[in-house]
């Protein structure tokens, strides 16, 4: 397991090199949402008993931590097919589990960076969030789940084009549909049931409840962790199966 330090150190060094670019890039989408929907709509309407901007920010945290954690999929993909850096990991005396831990920790860190940026925006937009251990646990569950999913996809896909297709058909719809920017209560019953099965839905519920200081839906949080554990086990297995 110790070899994970090499994989994770690489992630840390890459994040250090690109820190400023990452901060800017991680800021753009939530900032646009907050300006367009938060300022534009947020002051006139309420959703689930709170001003829309207050409802929106935890959703953006769920969305942001998901997309940024999942983005390691593209990074691994480039490391695998373009730079062939992944071969250096595979040729080293490091177990598949250690590689998985290193990569997933890198994804989780990116998820937390995205979360920190949105929390700063919340201060600017004068929305009070409850940033406590429960909130961090909910973000951790979300980031862990989507980093692990990213690991699976990065090992399964055969090209960058496949990776983009996965992003377009799986991640982008999930980012919008899972209660991040609107209340799922507004959806017809069948759609509500369907979307509730996607891992981002319970993650959004847990993050929103924690951020707004509401009672934690522990079932939702456990569900996210269960998704994460299953994805992580599959991800570790796919590293082995990725060998030709």
């Amino acid at each position: 397991m110790k070899g994970f330090a090499g994989v994770f150190t690489r992630e840390l060094l890459i994040i250090k090199k690109r820190f400023l670019k990452m901060l800017i890039s991680f800021s753009i989408t939530p900032l646009l949402y907050l300006i367009a929907f938060g300022w534009g709509l947020g002051q006139r309407m309420t959703v689930e008993g709170v001003p829309y901007i207050t409802f929106l920010i935890p959703g953006l945290i769920a969305m942001g931590s998901m997309t940024r954690s999942f983005a390691i999929s593209s990074e691994i993909n480039i490391a695998r097919f373009y730079w062939r850096i992944f071969e250096e990991f595979q040729a080293a005396p490091v177990s598949d589990l250690a590689i998985a831990v290193g990569e997933v920790l890198g994804g989780i860190l990116r998820g937390f960076l995205a979360t920190a940026i949105i929390c700063l925006f919340a201060l600017l937009f004068r929305v009070r969030l409850h940033v406590n251990c429960v909130f961090l646990l909910a973000v951790l569950a979300n980031a862990f789940t989507f980093s692990s999913l990213a690991l699976i996809t990065s090992m399964i896909v055969r090209s960058h084009a496949d990776q983009s297709m996965l992003n377009n058909f799986v991640i982008t719809p999930m980012a919008f549909l899972c209660g991040t920017v609107f209340s799922l209560k507004a959806l017809p019953g069948w759609a509500h049931i369907l979307i509730a099965w996607l891992p981002l839905s319970p993650a959004t519920r847990a993050i929103r409840a924690a951020a707004l200081g509401r009672p934690m839906p522990w079932g939702a949080l456990v569900t996210v962790f269960c998704f994460g554990i299953v994805f992580f086990i599959l991800g570790t297995y796919t590293i082995r199966s990725a060998k030709a």
Partner: protein, 279 residues
């Protein structure tokens, strides 16, 4: 040190490696020669656990590469054909990651990084980003990285591809020094002169099969020490002779132009397969 028994790799209907049995001794500089697509890289990828064999077994230092892959991997260093350095990071950062992957302590990584950087002539470049390096510097860094953890076997897959003549000669000197320090070297190449200049023994691979295995001198002698190249129109044919006298006698009977020269490993390949080594 390296033992391959009936090693086979198939990709669908295509057999990349066919029933390969080969043993490489400790401290040996072994050359693995063949044209592109012969199965050289597949062999290295199997031995370095990047690819699973379809059949057969391989051991490194007595450790089975599939059943005890972590133990086998600890003994090897790999210089891959494609340079797989992190271009955004510095040379030192690349070496640091490698050392951590091999569970070295930071102090030891720093000491070994300095030692091997000096060995490959990159002492002053450790803190520079790799994307500012020339092709030769990147290649030397991949060698320093492969040596960092003190491997007993060094796999080098076409390490001189993309280097100019002078860079290639510099690298040859470096490889000889590494071998003298005690490392077993498994070098794949399609450069005939490289195998002749460096290797104690050479295996010639063609279409996934090992078709010859011996010292370069013995292989050349087996083909015939002297070659007469005969040019008839656009066609070049080569005839092999045991000595210059018989070669000269034959050349005198040739209608077109003929050249007499010493045989080399490429001639061995031509004689065995009827084709030239095309990179």
């Amino acid at each position: 040190m390296i033992r391959m028994e009936n090693l086979t790799k198939r990709y669908g209907k295509n057999t990349a490696l066919n029933n390969l049995t080969l043993h490489v001794k400790e401290g040996e500089f072994f050359g693995y020669l063949g044209p592109n697509g012969a199965g050289k890289t597949t062999t290295v990828k199997i031995l370095t656990s990047l690819v699973k064999p379809t059949a057969g077994t391989a051991t490194i230092g007595g450790h089975d590469i599939t059943r005890s892959s972590l133990a086998a991997k600890k003994l090897i260093g790999v210089v891959p054909q494609a340079i797989n350095l992190d271009m955004e990071l510095t040379a030192w950062e690349n070496l640091l990651i490698h050392g951590l992957l091999y569970r070295m302590k930071r102090g030891a990584i720093r000491a070994e990084a300095r030692k091997w950087a000096a060995f490959v002539g990159l002492s002053g470049a450790l803190d520079k980003p790799v994307n500012t390096f020339s092709g030769g510097m990147k290649r030397r860094l991949t060698i320093a990285r492969a040596l960092l953890h003190g491997p007993r076997v060094l796999f080098m897959d076409e390490p001189t591809v993309g280097l100019d003549a002078s860079g290639r000669r510099d690298l040859w000197g470096l490889l000889k020094r590494i071998n003298r320090e005690g490392a077993t070297i498994f070098l794949t190449t399609h450069y005939i002169e490289e195998a002749e200049a460096l290797c104690d023994r050479v295996g010639i691979l063609d279409r996934g099969r090992l078709i010859a295995l011996d010292t370069p001198a013995a292989l050349i002698a087996s083909a015939g020490k002297i070659v007469v190249d005969v040019f008839e129109g656009d066609t070049l044919t080569s005839r092999f002779f045991p000595d210059r006298a018989s070669a000269g006698a034959f050349a005198a009977t040739v209608q077109g132009s003929a050249t007499i020269r010493n045989a080399n490993l490429e001639d061995v390949f031509v004689k065995l397969t009827g084709r030239r080594v095309v990179p």
